[in-house]
Symmetry: C2
Subunit: 199 residues, 2 copies
């Protein structure tokens, strides 16, 4: 005897979520089984809504329930400045910082040949189209500083070189609040390389 | 700017699951956003099915999609032997062990006065009714050995004393595969108390 069929199916479906093993999936499935019908209804409605209402912005290809998205439709922002990020969460982190008044472009991934993710899997074509439309003056490469993010940045730098625009990469160095002694050699090297004259 | 409304709603709904904080909920919501519609459909169908098809067995009050459940309807099992457990997962763990041929009774919780869970919140009335029906000869108390499980067991032992039946508690002691040196004093004490003569 195993869990009743519908419970088993739910456990299987939940355990396909990232970072959720069978034990956690079982715990969640039994919590759901024990919870009120209203909660389950809310959860299923939210799941449906997210797939039905959220689409990609036709401009920056970010996830949005309006098109163009809030950023692209904001006339107070600088349309000539585009920050390229790997995914939606990166865009949200940068928005959370506040102060950035340009636009974004979401690649929806990073180059990872070993995982079968090449340039065609990323939203690069859309970026090229935006650049060819002519109003973009600066592209900020804000992919991560892990190997995939670095590879993506290097690839884009080469790809975008022929276009007549300012191409920048966000700075690598020691995070605010960190101690020098705990930093790894690679980060320290980057920080040294990127040193600036103090006035 | 924050996440689009439907995404935010999904994050909120997911973060109400036990052990899932806002960061994990965000990760899961964005995974769902990125996943195929078929997966989301499967997930919502499983969620609905678990609430619609799974009910409580009218005999042992376990979760089941048939009534009576697989255990209670199995004529090869001993209906005079009932193992009382706190929840469905405990029953599943005992079934997983194999070899137990009696039935179960699921309390759906443990006594926890500080959390507002008293005897009325547990499925004790149903247990009494089964006992009063007359065919039960032995009740095995198999609630946990944490304080709530112990309290529940002690409460049931007192409550069931007037009924003319064999009342047993599963053994407490050193788990199979464990080293004596790593055991806590309470467990060692229990193991000493419960010692048996070797033949």
């Amino acid at each position: 005897m195993r869990y009743a069929e519908p419970i088993n199916n739910l456990i299987k479906a939940i355990s396909r979520l990232p970072g959720i093993g069978e034990k956690t999936a079982t715990r969640l499935a039994l919590f759901i089984l024990n919870s009120k019908s209203e909660y389950v209804e809310e959860l299923t409605n939210c799941l449906k809504a997210v797939k039905e209402k959220v689409t990609l912005c036709s401009e920056c290809v970010t996830f949005s329930d309006i098109d163009p998205c809030g950023v692209c439709s904001d006339t107070g922002r600088d349309a000539s400045l585009v920050c390229v990020v790997s995914d939606y969460r990166d865009m949200m982190a940068l928005e959370g910082m506040g102060g950035y008044k340009g636009r974004y472009h979401i690649l929806h991934g990073s180059l990872a040949p070993l995982k079968g993710i090449g340039p065609d899997e990323l939203r690069i074509e859309e970026l090229i189209k935006r650049i060819e439309a002519g109003s973009i003056k600066e592209v900020i490469l804000a992919t991560g500083f892990d190997s995939e993010g670095e590879a993506t940045s290097a690839y884009l730098a080469r790809l975008l070189k022929p276009y007549n625009l300012k191409l920048t990469r966000i700075a690598s160095g020691i995070p605010v609040g960190s101690f020098i002694e705990y930093m790894d050699g690679a980060t320290l090297g980057r920080a040294m390389e990127g040193r600036k004259e103090v006035s």
